[in-house]
Homo-oligomer: 380 residues x 2
C-alpha cells in the first residue's frame, strides 16, 4: 500500500536518537520534532483559529475523538466536511481514538474482546467503541492522523494484567487496521492510522508490543500509556525501550507529554511528535512557562512588573502586555487572561521544538540538551 | 478656557435632532454618532486589544472607574502611563465617575454633601468618593473623557427626592469642575470632563438640571439615570426633554444605552455617544444581534446551520464560522464562544452606528429611521 502521510528524515543526531524531519500531510508539511496544541472539543481553549494558524503558526493540532463523538457527534461534523470544515482549520489534525478518555472520564465502562462499552460523562447515555467504530468516527472527523483504539492501563498494574491488556491492544490494532484498509478503498483522501505501543511500565511487554505492531507496516507509531502517574524517569525508560524497534523511517508520537524541560528528553529518545494539555491548561491557571523558568502570575511580586512574561519571547502577549496587566486580568478573573496566557505558553512550546529542530539540523543537539539540563538544574 | 476635546459638527438631519460629527481627542478622531464598547476592568471581556483596535476599529472604549479604583488601583495604573499604557490601548478612553457602581454594586453606602462613602464589593474595605477625588482618580487613569461624580436615583422615586438628588448632582458637578480646572493647570494633556444631567423621570427636573449645568461650559454633556428599570418610552422622553437645552456644538452622551433598535432612536433625539454592556454581555450568554433579528444560539434549529451568524456581516466570526460551530462552542461552554460572539455583537453595534452616521451625512436619516422602525415591528 502506498503511504498516505509520508515522513522525510532530514537529520539524525550522532550522540542521541534525536531526529529532524518533515511529515507531509494533505493539510501541509509539518516540521518535526513537533508539539501539537490540544483542541479537545474542536477548539484550542481560548484561541481563535486565526491566532493558532497565523499568530502561532501551529502546523497541526489534536482533537479528542471521545469528546467530539459525544458532542456534537461525528455525523454533524462530517456534514461540514469533517473537523477541518467544522472548525475552519486550515492545517493538519491528529485525533486520538477516544480510548484514553473512556478510561479516564467515563464511569461504568466494560471492556470485552470486541471493544469497550461506556457511559457518557455528559448525560449517562451508553455507547460502545470498537476498533472498527473508532476508525469510522475518525474518518468522519476527516483527521489527517488517526489512532487505533487501545487500552491504557492504570499505574501501577501487575505484569500479568499489563500483558493481557497489551495483547488486547495488539489484537485491537490488527482489527482497526483491517477495517481501515477496507474503508479507505471507499473513502479517498490522505489519512494515516497509527497503532499504539502499550505494556505499562514493563520494558519486555513494550518491546514485544512494538515488535508485534511492526507487522501492520503503519505510517507512524505512537507510544501510549505514559503520564499516567508514574515517576518521570520511568516514562523515559519506556520510550527508550522500544526506540530501537520502531522503524527509523516512520514518525513516532509520544502521547500526552510533557513539561517544557522534558521535550528535548523525549526527542533525545527518538520521539518526533508530542501533545500535552499542560501549556494550555496551566496557562488558564496562571502558570506561565518562560525561557527563564516559570512565572506564577498571581504572585505579588508581579503586581507592578512592567516586563513582558518572557523578554525573549516574540508572541503577541509578550509584544503587547506587561506582567502587571496580565496579573490584573488574572486576579479579576478576566477571559482575556486565558487567551493571552495560552497564546504565550503554546508559543513557548512551539519555540522549544523549533530550537530543538534547529539544533538537530545544525548538528548541535547534544550541546543544546546539555544546556537545557544545566538550566533546569538551576531554575528548579 | 480653550477646549481640550473639540467637537466638529458635520451634518444635522432636518427632520429629527440627529447629528453627525467628529470628536477630536488626543487618542484619535472619533466619528459620531459612536457606540463605545464597555471595558469594565481594563479589558473588553473576551477580546484582545488587537481584535478591538485592528479588527473592530473601535475608536473609543469605556473604562469603569469604580472597578479600576478598587483593582488594580489608580496609583498602579498611573505608574504605567494611565489606562492607555496599562492596557496598551491606542485609541480613546472614556471613564465614568464610579458613582453608578457605588449605587448599584456596593452595600452600606452613605451619601453626604461631601460625597459618598461605600464598602468595596470585593473585600468590604471602606472608601470615599468625592467630586474632587473622582476627578483625581480619572486623571490618574489618563482618560480622554471623564465624568463628574453624580447621584443616580433608583426608579421610581418621588419628585421631592429626585429634586434633592438632582440638586446635589449639580453642586457636585460644580465642585468637580472647580477642582478639575485647578488640576489641569498642573496635569498637561488633552482631557475633557462631562457633567451629567439627572432628574429621574421628571422632565422639569431634567430641564432645570441641564440649564444649571450649562454654566460649566463643559466640552460635552452626559445624560445619566437612564436604563434604571423605567419603561423605554420614558427614557426617550427624558432625552428629548433636555435636547433643546444642551449646547448644539458639544457632544451629548447617553449613558448605558441601549438595544440595537434603540440606537437610532437616541440619535434621532440628539445623542452623539452611547455605551452599553448589552452587546458584550448578551454575546457571552449566547444572544446574538444580527441585521435580521436575534439569534439565540442554543436553539436546536442552529445545530446543523452552515450559515454565518449574520450573512451581511463582515466580522471575523461571520467570515470564519458557521452557526453550527458556534452553537457547539456555546453548548460545550468553550471560552472561544465568548470571544467570537462578542466580536460579532460589537461589530453589529459599530455597524449600526456607521449606517446611522452615513445616512445622516447623506441626508437620508429619516428614511433610515423609518426602515428600522418597520423592520423592528416585523422581527419582534
Amino acid at each position: 500500500m502506498s503511504r498516505q502521510i509520508t515522513f522525510e528524515l532530514q537529520a539524525e543526531c550522532p550522540d542521541t536518537r534525536a531526529r529532524a524531519g518533515i511529515l507531509h500531510t494533505a493539510h501541509g508539511d509539518i516540521p518535526t520534532p513537533i508539539f501539537m496544541p490540544v483542541g479537545t472539543q474542536g477548539t484550542v481553549k481560548g484561541l481563535t483559529q486565526s491566532q493558532l494558524a497565523d499568530e502561532l503558526r501551529a502546523p497541526i493540532i489534536l482533537g479528542n475523538t471521545y469528546h467530539l463523538f459525544l458532542r456534537p457527534g461525528p455525523e454533524l461534523i462530517k456534514q461540514f466536511g469533517g473537523l477541518h470544515g467544522f472548525m475552519n482549520w486550515p492545517n493538519a489534525i491528529l485525533t486520538d481514538s477516544g480510548g484514553y478518555q473512556v478510561f479516564s472520564l467515563s464511569e461504568l465502562r466494560r471492556i470485552s474482546e470486541e471493544g469497550v462499552t461506556f457511559q457518557s460523562h455528559l448525560n449517562g447515555d451508553a455507547h460502545k467503541f470498537t476498533p472498527a467504530s473508532t476508525v469510522d468516527v475518525q474518518l468522519s472527523l476527516g483527521s489527517d492522523i488517526m489512532m487505533v483504539l487501545d487500552e491504557c492501563p492504570p499505574y501501577p498494574v501487575s505484569h500479568e494484567s499489563a500483558r493481557a491488556s497489551m495483547e488486547r491492544t495488539v489484537r485491537w490494532a490488527g482489527a482497526a487496521f483491517a477495517h481501515y484498509r477496507e474503508r479507505i478503498k471507499q473513502v479517498p483522501g490522505r489519512h494515516a492510522l497509527f497503532p499504539i505501543v502499550q505494556g505499562s511500565m514493563f520494558p519486555d511487554l513494550r518491546q514485544e508490543c512494538a515488535r508485534r505492531l511492526l507487522d501492520l507496516d503503519a505510517d507512524g507509531y505512537a507510544v501510549g500509556g505514559l503520564s499516567v502517574g508514574e515517576p518521570r524517569p520511568l516514562s523515559m525508560d519506556m520510550v527508550e525501550a522500544t526506540e530501537p524497534i520502531l522503524p527509523r523511517d516512520r514518525p513516532r508520537y509520544a502521547m500526552g507529554v510533557g513539561m517544557p524541560q522534558e521535550l528535548p528528553e523525549y526527542v533525545a529518545r527518538g520521539i518526533d511528535m508530542m501533545d500535552c494539555v499542560l501549556p494550555s491548561r496551566n496557562a488558564r491557571n496562571g502558570w506561565i512557562f518562560t525561557s527563564e523558568g516559570k512565572v506564577v502570575i498571581k504572585h505579588a511580586r508581579y503586581r507592578d512588573d512592567p516586563a513582558p512574561l518572557d523578554p525573549s519571547c516574540a508572541c503577541y502577549t509578550c509584544r503587547t502586555h506587561s506582567r502587571a496587566y496580565l496579573r490584573h486580568l488574572f486576579q479579576a478573573g478576566e477571559i482575556l487572561f486565558s487567551t493571552l496566557a495560552t497564546l504565550h505558553n503554546l508559543k513557548r512550546y512551539l519555540d522549544i521544538m523549533g530550537e530543538i529542530r534547529q539544533s538537530i539540523l545544525l548538528g548541535q543537539f547534544p550541546a543544546y540538551l546539555r544546556r537545557v539540563r544545566e538550566q533546569n538544574a538551576l531554575v528548579r
